[in-house]
């Protein structure tokens, strides 16, 4: 990925005491996001507020839309108008966005959506935490889609992963979803924003060759293909229908195979380059705790206590949720006794762990119906059982 240093206008460098929601807005601005459309919803509203407050001085545009359907549609338009763009929401709003997230996938439109998860289903628990939209991020839109989702464990990582989300989104021309949660979104911690010259950003890759040669698409299962922005004089067409490299509809099974293969493989085929994990004492462990977001911090507390009891426990933190780290789980499964998977939902990512472990070790779900984080003791108990 070709990178440049960040535009200093968007970078509020220095140490801050900031919540995760605000850090998401700062990360977006640092990454070059200059268009935000959204509809307020707890617990994500603070991101919108921060972006709105900073937009005039940065030279960005903020629009409060009439709803979430319009918000995501505005993002698709803004992206093809040349802007890096973002929206934030939580479960109820994400559900409304799902149709057009599919449109962004097939039109290969870069955009970033942060889902600051709260308890569901429906309007559920507006002010309380959850991790219940993990599967929705992947399976929300109909049809085969491959997309990228990241999960920060702190306000600092909200900043860092917002930058990374934009970089991945620009390169792979795909929606990137930041799956955070109410706890991380609303808690304040120290966030250090580096100076602009230390932040690497993937710039918008706009085509600049002969007009007749421009193609908005290239079905080669790779990222990095240039786009154009409306008004630059290059003819282009985008549609939700299966299309050729010019973007015009070609509704045949043969073309469907070409397009869908490309959409899936540009992400799945580059999974090794995209996936980021944080591992601690995984080699030689009897039990590996797989966790993400706020739950990974609670899990570390439980792991520390388990180690004091002499148990050999490793930690595997998913920074990248989708694509899922299939290869690493497959490598570890035959070497360990069990995976323990705590999450603030009724058991979602544990299904992926089970699928990849394929019966070679136990997989223990430590689920939680939402509204709070786990008590560390609950995870510790599961580790003890798993080690037997």
């Amino acid at each position: 990925m070709k990178t440049v240093t960040a535009d200093p206008k968007g970078v509020d460098a220095g140490p801050h005491f900031m919540d995760g929601d605000h850090a998401l807005a700062e990360g977006a601005l640092a990454a070059g996001c200059r268009f935000f459309a959204g509809y307020p919803i707890t617990p994500s509203t603070e991101t919108a507020e921060r972006f709105a407050e900073r937009a005039p001085e940065v030279g960005a545009l903020f629009i409060q839309m009439e709803d979430e359907l319009a918000s995501i549609a505005a993002l698709i338009g803004a992206a093809w108008g040349g802007k890096k763009c973002m929206t934030v929401t939580c479960g109820p709003g994400f559900s409304l966005m799902v149709e057009n997230i599919g449109l962004a996938c097939i039109t290969e439109t870069p955009l970033v959506i942060a889902n600051v998860q709260r308890g569901g289903p429906s309007t559920g628990l507006p002010t309380l935490t959850a991790q219940q939209d993990m599967m929705q991020a992947k399976w929300g839109p109909h049809g085969d889609n491959a997309m990228i989702a990241l999960s920060p464990d702190s306000p600092q990582e909200c900043f860092d992963l917002a930058v990374e989300a934009f970089n991945l989104s620009e390169y792979y021309r795909v929606p990137v979803i930041i799956l955070t949660d109410e706890t991380v979104g609303h808690m304040h911690e120290k966030v250090v924003i580096p100076p602009a010259d230390q932040i690497k950003v993937v710039p918008r890759n706009n085509y600049s060759g002969p007009k007749e040669d421009f193609r908005p698409y290239k079905f080669n299962s790779q990222g990095g293909h240039p786009m154009t922005q409306a008004g630059d004089g290059y003819n282009f067409h985008i549609t939700g229908l299966v299309h050729d490299e010019r973007g015009y509809p070609v509704m045949t099974a043969e073309q469907g195979k070409i397009v869908v293969t490309h959409l899936m493989e540009k992400i799945n085929g580059n999974a090794d380059k995209i996936i980021r994990l944080e591992e601690d004492q995984v080699d030689g462990a009897d039990v590996v705790v797989v966790s993400y977001g706020i739950t990974s911090r609670i899990a570390v507390k439980a792991i520390q206590d388990a180690r004091k009891e002499g148990l050999k426990v490793g930690s595997l933190r998913l920074i990248t949720i989708w694509p899922f780290c299939e290869k690493r789980i497959r490598e570890l499964a035959p070497k360990i006794k069990a995976f323990v998977v705590p999450e603030i939902n009724y058991g979602q990512m544990v299904l992926e762990v089970e699928r990849c472990a394929a019966g070679q070790c136990k997989v223990i779900s430590v689920n939680h119906c939402g509204g709070a984080v786990h008590e560390p003791e609950v995870i510790l108990d599961a580790i003890r059982k798993a080690a037997k």
Partner: protein
């Protein structure tokens, strides 16, 4: 590794959340500690009982919420009634003395009382109650330095009121130092 858990409480509008923000910023930016702040959301943050929680430590904080606060700052009767029972033996209880009627002398706790609202009015406006209370809190708990607290104020109080906020903080701080001396002499 030492971890300390602090609850700031009162009614919405007293600047309770601001207290936790200032202390968290002071600790994590200027006192070289780790601090994680969480707060009330929903209707309770907008008029009735309101609370903000701070976990501070020498190392990274894993569990972001408080489990047993060692320090409680209660600026309203409701906050005191609701939370004082959480304090362990030897815990620090700081109350607004004109707004909180104590249910006991709390012999098991380190009890401190400060007329924060009255002092704030003397400084110019009862809006500065939270800064008086924070100054007092800083002096009696010593969990954070006064220097760091003052450095943390810009950006968290309006620029034009920075000086008077510092004055309010210092008034509370000095009263806290005196309170410590009195407590020391009594024991």
């Amino acid at each position: 590794m030492s971890t300390q858990e602090i609850r700031f409480s009162g009614f919405g509008g007293q600047g309770i959340i601001r207290c936790a923000l200032i202390t968290g910023k002071a600790l994590s930016l200027y006192d070289d500690k780790f601090a994680t702040m969480t707060q009330s959301f929903g209707p309770e943050a907008r008029g009735s009982a309101c609370a903000a929680q701070l976990v501070m430590s020498d190392s990274r904080i894993l569990y972001p919420y408080i489990t047993q606060p060692g320090v409680l700052l209660a600026l309203s009767q409701e906050a005191y009634d609701k939370y004082y029972g959480e304090l362990p033996k030897g815990g620090v209880l700081i109350v607004e003395q004109d707004l909180v009627k104590l249910k006991s002398d709390h012999p098991d706790l380190k009890l401190y009382r400060v007329p924060a609202t009255r002092f704030a009015e003397e400084v110019g406006n009862r809006l500065f109650t939270n800064l008086v209370a924070l100054g007092f809190f800083t002096a009696v708990t010593k969990v954070v330095t006064a220097d760091a607290m003052k450095k943390a104020l810009p950006g968290l109080v309006p620029d034009r009121f920075l000086k008077v906020n510092i004055k309010a903080f210092e008034k509370g701080y000095e009263y806290g130092i005196e309170a410590l001396k009195t407590a020391g002499a009594a024991s």
